[in-house]
């Protein structure tokens, strides 16, 4: 997936605690192993406490800014639907949303002050292609809901032409040995699921 400037831009977003930072670390390692210059930017600290979290990943021949410009993201990998909508303005024309089939209502919705927007997938499909991935369900079936992040990463992997070994190395570098098999399994499921709906 290359553009004129040869740089691929990926936004990963979701809710603090969903494993967004780990996913962007894995993606970054994979791009690095595949021989690209790579930059990543994220926010730590207060925002991570159940707040909206966004990570920018860019790779290509030479990357300057770690931040992606509005309307320039090739992919938005969203771990939660409302967060996909919140950062949809980053997507370029004909870009791709990969969205976890999950709704986590923010506090204002829990207290009844605000309503969770309806038909988010429909709204997103007016901006770009939308892949909805039941990552939560897939992860639960594998026995651990916390690996939903690698399931989603697996579905992103289908669009990036990195060799599979690169992904395995990147996952190995970033997860604990104890959880390696589980993560690799989750990644595979995500990659395969995507193939099923995509083809």
């Amino acid at each position: 997936m290359k553009k004129d400037d040869g740089i691929t831009n990926i936004i990963i977003c979701g809710v603090g605690g969903q494993g967004i930072l780990l996913s962007s670390d894995i993606l970054c390692s994979a791009a690095f192993c595949a021989g690209y210059d790579v930059k990543k930017s994220e926010i730590h600290g207060m925002a991570q406490r159940g707040g909206s979290v966004i990570s920018h990943v860019r790779f290509g021949k030479k990357v300057y800014s770690p931040l992606i410009e509005e309307g320039k993201a090739d992919f938005i990998l969203a771990f939660e639907k409302l967060e996909a909508l919140r950062y949809a303005y980053f997507l370029k024309k004909n870009g791709i949303f990969i969205v976890n089939d999950l709704q986590l209502p923010p506090m204002s919705v829990l207290t009844g002050e605000r309503e969770y927007p309806e038909n988010i997938t429909g709204i997103l499909s007016k901006i770009g292609t939308v892949d909805v991935i039941p990552a939560q369900e897939i992860a639960l079936n594998l026995g651990n809901v916390r690996i939903a992040n690698v399931v989603l990463l697996g579905s992103l992997a289908r669009y990036l032409n990195f060799p599979l070994e690169v992904w395995y190395t990147a996952i190995k570098e970033n997860v604990k040995q104890k959880y390696l098999d589980l993560n690799l399994h989750g990644f595979e499921k995500g990659r395969k699921f995507c193939e099923k709906v995509g083809d």
Partner: protein, 590 residues
């Protein structure tokens, strides 16, 4: 070329690596976003002594001590941390160093996790200390390593300035071996290190001469460099702003500044002469812009580029009316998702009671500042580390009796050790009335769980000497001291009422570990037969509790999300109908 080892590193990891490669012997810091990971990564290098100090002033002073004996030392702090360390920093600017001494300031434009947006480039000018500003992780490593050498060469403390987007962005870093440098050893030199007025007057002159020499060095410093492109447009930039500017104006000529104080004035003049139009693209205050304008050079800067907030490529494009291809989104007013107190957070019970009793609460810095948000609304002020204690005391003194009856100060355990203690002593000594609630979750939670004196653990995890907040309070002369379980709402309410009735200084220590430090209890469940949908449990502001519609009846019922609930049990205590149950009690019922 290919045999150079490369790694992906965040700016903070790269600073730690640079310190190690640069032969650093000694590191001390207090955690603060976005600086925390610098010391966390230095801890991984056994060649460097590393400690979490109780605050930034202490950290800088112990590093200065290490420098006095000829060790290379580094301290790192967030931008507001440098305010705390400013006192020693200004005078160390006079004394200079023996072992290289580097102060890393991590500014937070955009205030992602901070209370203000101060631009610490001002400090370099104010304290007459040279400053290096990297633009990415690789430069962060190189500049840290160099800073020790330049510090010793010019006998000066060195400031290294990162911003959130340097600290927490990652990129490829070329790594190298460590340079082993012996600790020089102590030699007494009171004219250098004992700043009696007579000595300081001499030192001030030396400082002015030193800055002239470093300004000359800055002219030929290889990372202050001109990149000729289209001569029609010249851009002067530094730090992360340089990267954004390169993205937005790829054809332009650039003067990339890295040693940004003192400025290479001749280089700037040469660049200005070589281009038709000159822009200064900098994040924060117009510091480069004003210095360059003072040289008589015409530049465009802050009249186009915002002074407030972070920059990014989009903002720079908008500033110069360049086209953005932002897609149209058919929804307006997307519900915000601000950070919240974690489900099961032990501080929640205290905030619930503060809100319930309609108290006035001065607050402090940490994740517990989130107790200020609805529906808890349990905090009235938050200024800086330790200010809860002193603000409450001052309000009590000047605010009259009615306020006095409902005034409490809320501070975290790490914050208490950082800067809460002097305020407590002040209140006791001046015979004040103060109700200090110490939220002791046994860690520095906000910044990622660093140890502090109250935990008794040291930076590397080994046992240190544990100092308990209640012992400190008693030692400061506080007569009313009580330890309370914050997960017991009745005890919390009763103890706060007792403290409010006590004449004088009362300290309550609410001790319960942060949820990240313990194994969660099994999640709780709602008996929808008993739940009448009163929504009382929602007043806890727990992200795990929501209310859902029930098909068979009109009234909704509470729902507890299993993946979020930690089983803390506060909602069980609140429910008037016994509708929230532990899993075991549910099984018993069946």
């Amino acid at each position: 070329m290919d045999n150079i080892e490369k790694k992906i590193m965040s700016g903070n990891e790269a600073v730690a690596r640079g310190a190690w490669e640069g032969g650093c012997h000694f590191a001390a810091a207090y955690p603060g976003t976005p600086s925390t990971e610098i010391l966390e990564n230095i801890i991984k290098y056994p060649e460097i002594y590393a400690e979490w100090s109780v605050n930034e002033k202490v950290a800088l002073e112990v590093c200065a001590g290490a420098s006095f004996v000829g060790a290379r030392a580094i301290t790192a702090m967030k931008h507001v941390g440098l305010n705390v360390a400013a006192d020693p920093m200004f005078t160390l600017g006079y004394t200079g160093v023996t072992g290289g001494l580097v102060i890393v300031t991590c500014d937070d434009p955009g205030m992602w996790s901070s209370q203000n947006e101060q631009d610490n480039r001002h400090y370099a000018r104010h304290a007459k200390i040279p400053m290096l500003e990297p633009s990415d992780s690789n430069e962060a490593k190189i500049f840290t390593k160099m800073a020790f050498d330049i510090s010793e060469e010019f006998d000066t403390v060195f400031l290294l300035r990162l911003t959130t987007r340097i600290s927490h962005s990652s990129g490829i870093v070329e790594i190298g071996p460590r340079k082993e440098i012996p600790v020089k050893g102590y030699i007494k030199d009171i004219k250098k290190r004992l700043v009696l007025p007579a000595h300081a007057r001499v030192l001030h002159r030396i400082v002015e001469e030193r800055m002239k020499k470093i300004a000359e060095y800055s002219e030929s410093f290889s990372y202050n460099r001109i990149e000729w492109g289209d001569r029609g447009l010249g851009i002067i930039s530094s730090g992360i702003a340089y990267m954004y500017a390169k993205e937005v104006f790829p054809e332009a000529s650039f003067l990339k500044l890295s040693l940004t104080h003192p400025l290479p004035k001749n280089l700037i003049k040469r660049f200005a002469r070589g281009v038709k139009k000159l822009l200064v693209i900098e994040e924060g205050d117009p510091i480069l812009e004003q210095e360059i304008k003072a040289m008589g050079i015409e530049v465009v800067g802050k009249e186009r580029i915002p002074l407030c907030g972070e920059l990014d490529p989009t903002i720079i494009k908008k500033s110069f009316n360049k086209r953005i291809q932002r897609p149209k989104i058919m929804v307006e007013n997307i519900p915000e998702r601000p950070p919240v107190l974690c489900p099961g957070c032990p501080e929640r019970g205290v905030f619930y009671v503060i809100n319930k009793l309609k108290l006035v609460a001065t607050g402090d810095i940490g994740c517990y500042t989130l107790g200020a948000l609805p529906p808890l609304n349990a905090m009235d002020t938050c200024i800086c580390m330790g200010a809860s204690v002193t603000n409450a005391y001052g309000m009590d003194r000047a605010g009259g009796e009615d306020l006095s009856k409902k005034l409490v100060a809320v501070i975290g355990d790490s914050t208490f050790f950082h800067m809460g203690i002097p305020g407590l002593i002040n209140a006791v000594y001046n015979k004040g009335n103060l109700n200090l609630l110490i939220l002791d979750n046994l860690t520095t939670a906000m910044t990622g769980h660093q140890p502090h004196p109250g935990t008794g653990k040291l930076a590397h995890g080994e046992e240190g000497k544990r100092i308990l907040p209640e012992d400190v309070a008693r030692g400061c002369g506080v007569e009313f001291v009580k330890i309370v379980d914050p997960l017991n709402l009745r005890e919390v309410e009763q103890s706060i009422k007792e403290a409010l009735n006590f004449e004088g200084v009362a300290v309550l220590v609410f001790r319960s570990p942060c949820i990240f430090l313990k194994k969660p209890e099994p999640y709780l469940i709602v008996d929808i037969e008993k739940c009448n949908g009163c929504k009382l449990c929602l007043r806890l502001g727990c992200p795990a509790i929501t209310v859902k519609r029930i098909e068979s009846r009109e009234k909704p019922a509470a729902y507890i999300e299993p993946t979020l609930c930690n089983g803390c049990g506060l909602c069980i205590q609140l429910c008037l109908h016994g509708a929230i149950l532990k899993q075991s009690s549910q099984e018993e019922l069946e």
